[in-house]
Symmetry: C2
Subunit: 385 residues, 2 copies
């Protein structure tokens, strides 16, 4: 096991009716900016629940944070927060709203001229961003219980991230009932996203960490069981609760304690989203099988373990089982309705070289050995046509 630190002070309030706890969680005298996305919370009752719980408190709103939240949009919220003297941010939505709100929280306190600098170097995130809390409505990114934020810049077609403990939410409210009305595409995307977060921390090489391995497999097995049910039976509370808690556990740092991590799928996927506008989870479903296949010798031991424990693959030769495990992964994504091929997203062949070149130019070290070459990234994408 590698040395690690684990420090996750986010207060999780989970369950039916949990939004009513808001007044106990938001500081009493805070001037609050409530942030949200495209307005689905006004149709599914969450906006109503939040404003009712916050009645009598000082709170203004900023709506319109997009999926893959945009730098340009967040900067408008920063101006509003400064002008209004906001001292607490309440993000109501999914990972994009929460990520955007983390960026806003940090940018309000940022001293330099261009807060984009924080996305180029997490150490530039100021020591004391505005405090924030979350009401999660879309289980997917784990942003509700981690300090990461991914922001997209329209002007340069860049999608970059920071990760820092300073932007950990003070609390996150997770009420599975808020997810009943999600469109199937978002439900499926959330399952794929949680899956990829888990495999980025699990499908690397053995590191004498059997507990973390099993904690990761616990998430994957639960997603295999409960994911399809969430699509088939959207108002099943237990299923929604299990998917929600699994997505949080997939990226709150726990399963990554003391083990090597990959993240190549995410880095390649971010470029595809930035360039071609596909959903984040679509990019992961597309890239992940390619990363596993191209790296199957180096990931051999873990792929065999994954095949056996997650997919029950015990018979046949090792190479065949590895192929089956990768194939089952792709089929699982497809069974949820998420496409897995470049052509299905009408992404042109030029993406193969363009994405690899962009990552190489950025000097990013990819993979658990931090050594994926530009050519290897090309190979990963070429086989996804």
């Amino acid at each position: 096991m590698l040395n690690f630190t684990y420090h996750n002070p986010v207060n999780i309030v989970f369950g039916k009716g949990a939004i009513a706890e808001l007044p106990k969680l938001v500081p009493a005298r805070a001037k609050v900016l409530m942030t949200y996305g495209g307005g689905s919370i006004k149709r599914n009752g969450v906006y109503e629940q939040v404003t009712r719980a916050m009645r009598g408190r000082s709170m203004i709103e900023f709506g319109g944070i997009e999926p893959n939240p945009r730098y340009e949009t967040c900067l408008r919220a920063v101006d509003l927060a400064k002008a209004e003297g906001i001292d607490f941010l309440l993000a109501v939505g999914g990972g994009s709203v929460i990520d955007g709100t983390k960026f806003i929280a940090a940018a309000v306190s940022y001293q330099g001229s261009d807060p984009w600098g924080m996305l180029l170097d997490s150490s530039r995130v100021p020591a004391n961003p505005l405090p924030l809390g979350c009401v999660l409505t879309l289980p997917a990114t784990g942003s509700e219980m981690n300090g990461g934020a991914v922001i997209s810049r329209e002007a340069t077609r860049e999608k970059l991230f920071f990760v820092t403990p300073q932007t950990l939410p003070q609390f996150s409210i997770l009420d599975p009932e808020t997810t009943y009305s999600l469109p199937p595409r978002q439900v499926a995307n959330g399952i794929v996203d949680a899956w990829a977060h888990t495999t980025e921390q699990y499908l690397t090489y053995p590191a004498d960490a059997p507990l973390q391995d099993r904690q990761a497999e616990a998430v994957l097995l639960t997603l295999v069981e409960e994911g399809p049910k969430a699509l088939a039976d959207p108002q099943n509370y237990a299923v929604r609760a299990n998917v929600m808690w699994s997505a949080t556990q997939a990226l709150n740092g726990l399963i990554g304690c003391g083990v090597p991590q990959d993240w190549a799928t995410h880095m390649i996927g971010h470029e595809l989203t930035a360039l071609y506008g596909i959903d984040h989870a679509q990019s992961l479903a597309l890239v992940l099988p390619g990363v596993l296949r191209c790296q199957k010798q180096r990931k051999r031991a873990k792929l065999l373990q994954y095949g056996e424990r997650v997919w029950g693959l015990r018979d046949g030769g090792e190479d065949a089982r590895i192929e089956q495990a990768i194939d089952k992964t792709e089929r699982f994504f497809r069974s949820l309705g998420v496409s897995t091929r470049l052509a299905e997203y009408k992404i042109p062949r030029e993406a193969v070289t363009l994405v690899a070149a962009r990552l190489a130019n950025r000097g990013m070290k990819l993979g658990e050995h931090q050594d994926l070459s530009e050519k290897e990234v090309q190979e990963i994408l070429a086989q996804r046509e």
Copy 2:
């Protein structure tokens, strides 16, 4: 899944050489009281590591906190802390030292006449105990990452606990190398303790919480694999690390999120320790098989799941598999060298009625249904002769 809150802000610093991080974790100007136990830390180098790391800091010592830390001893430390104007406690040891230190931290700020009141009612723990940090040397109780403390009172032969977020450590340092020199009895006790913590939260009834079930099974399976190795190969770093992290995960609140909990084994066991002086883990190894057998109808579904997933029991009738699962549990404890019968500990037959009566008199509600009768407690113990 039941509604829950999960809020665990303990900063875990895990790995080889982690004690050197102490100066970054203890507030720079704090006047520190270092607490420890019987002096093993002076023989195994931990005392030396801690004092070296804290060189130049203001720190005094209080040694001699016993296994099953005594109220009377802790009160002496409270007097010392008050007299010296201590503002930070550093617990160096196992669960007993940490539990005792939590009690000291709370008792220093306690306003009433007798701080024993906190053990009768956790809500009497003051809002602002002294802050504390830990250097863990014995994986077992999980006290390093929870807010619980169990204290024994010599005068009345009572062993009671409080659980409160106020006494969560600010940080805990876990260096697996500090456990190399533990006597086999303490290693075995630690494994049994972590096991029982897990089953108290897992072996109840199904609650639509498949992720938490698997997270609990992850701990149990790791203990089955790694526990015997820790005894056979004491200086195997990976094994020690896995046992240490498993024991922390067994009682940091995570596997208990949203599920019913039992704790009858602990409550009955505490009485045996208070009356007859057996080790805490010995009491658990003794009582747990009895609780499972006497409650096997009500725990039926989870016992079958436990048998299959932890012990690989898939063949034969359900009743037979349940018996086998309980039998394997007891054999596992015995394989570690921990006895499981009253007679082996020379505990007299009167314990059967005495313990049941003490619990009944205290009005404690036992079991996941909170309805174990005095007669049922007698039955549990009677079959452990």
